[in-house]
Amino acid sequence: MFEAIDLSLVNWSRAQFALTAMYHWLFVPLTLGTTFIIAIMETIYVKTGKPEWKKMTKFWMTLFGINFAIGVATGLILEFEFGTNWSNYSWFVGDIFGAPLAIEGIMAFFMESTFIAVMFFGWNKVSKKFHLASSWLVAIGANLSALWILVANAWMQSPVGTTFNPETARNEMTSFWEVLFSPVAINKFLHTITSGFVLSAVFVIGVSAWFLLKKRHIVMARKSILVAAIFGIVSSLALIGTGDGSAKQVAKVQPMKLAAMEGLYNGYEGVDLIAVGAFKSTSEESNDAMKDFLFKIEIPNFLSFLAFGNWDAFVPGVNDLINGNPEKGIMSVHEKIDRGKIAIEKLTAYKEAKKNGDEVLSSSLVNELTSENFQEDYFRYLGYGHVNDTNFLIPNIPLVFYSFHVMVMLGFLFLLVFVLALWWVLRNKLDSKKWFLLIAIFTIPLAYLATELGWVVAEFGRQPWVIQDLMPTTTAVSQISAVSVQITFVLFAVIFTTLLIAEVGIMIKQIKIGPKDEGGTKS
């Protein structure tokens, strides 16, 4: 199959999806976290009645509003791409994507049109408590909106709660709750939103640090840093916990991704975790060529513990997953390919029987294809039936490895920034730490980098699968012209870059204006 597909079409379609998803993700995480920071500030205002908290709430609301408005609906472009560039995939996933996205659409519409309006237009028009409730509902609603798309994404990483119906060529949901509460979905949702919280805390601290450096709005800046630092510390701890949960799920359902994240080629018992490392540069381009480390600092047995809760657990490497390891119960890729081919042969036989009008045979094949045993033993390896070269099953290891390690290191850097900011702001010494205030400002782009790298790990790490083990990208892609994808790629790059420039420009302008005194309640 791989040889017959125009790889340039697949690669351009992937690149376009990556571009739009990553641009979309530049807007989302700030919304997830700032809404909670705003709600906390407004709660303090309602509790204390002190006007500076209201002023502060309104200032951060303005920045949230700009980000929300520019980013809103950018995710819809991804849905356009599903229908055009990934039509086989779109059809194959059936209502797995449709149901969560419909819920998201309805929820987002009602929450956003109602409570955001109250948030921005409702000052002095509704009671303080109703306004506060609206702010909290916006925060909860924004995060719940993210839940549904992340549930859909989690299903692609670990397809559960569904069965394939050969008559419609679609996967059908057998248990909505199994899809919603799959451990991968829960961890993905929690890890993603907490990463948004951390980014937002970094943003609030960075902007406030700028005010302190400029000696403007000092009281507001200190109080904002106080709230954001506490929020950031709590979120960072939650992020570490959910990251651990996500890694355990990856070890279970996507072991190749874990091997790539750690650059682990040969598995063993009691695997060390690479805290810091770099690969030797090599002229060998082949993806399956083992990469040696130039240097690495390891924590003994820690990967085994993190992945399986056991210091001596066996963690499979790339070679174990490709060649199999019967002693550890790991099936070889060749065995999976054979099983995938059997699934394809059965589907082909069904297709022919249907075409020939042989009702008896097609009905018997439907029963066989949908039987629990066949689904479990063969159909779950369907995607492998398209693989002729095992090299395609290995993700880009250096890319996944570096993305993962840089993301983790930045996560700990942000925690350090929050702790130091809190320590100094409580001791009233933050204003004099100019070097730290500068670092806090430059941490803002690093937070965006970290959150984007998280997606690089999640999505590049699962290549070549668009749906884990069931559908490779080469089967998912539509048979359209690669040139048309290239044109829309450029169009998107232009549109999104313009939006980003607009957002950054308007935001910088508003930051420079700063918070308005009471009476300046306009939005």
Partner: protein
């Protein structure tokens, strides 16, 4: 009466906007580009465009997911 109040609430809110007006212009231009240019001219739903019935669509996808050549 309530509908009127809600309507007035939104109208007044929009009228009182300052920076919000610029943002609304961006939103409207963005939505116009997305739905009236990109969706209409560049992003047709391939299966809907090529086939008229769901059976044809499922046969097409079945063909693709069983094609190993």
């Amino acid at each position: 009466m309530i509908i009127r109040k809600v309507f007035d609430f939104y109208v007044e809110g929009f009228k009182r906007m300052t920076w919000g007006k610029t943002v609304w212009v961006i939103i409207l231009v963005k939505l116009f580009i997305m739905f009236f240019i990109l969706k209409l001219f560049f992003f047709p739903n391939i299966l809907k465009k090529k086939f008229t019935t769901d059976e044809e669509r499922s046969n097409h996808v079945l063909e693709n997911i069983t094609n190993t050549k």
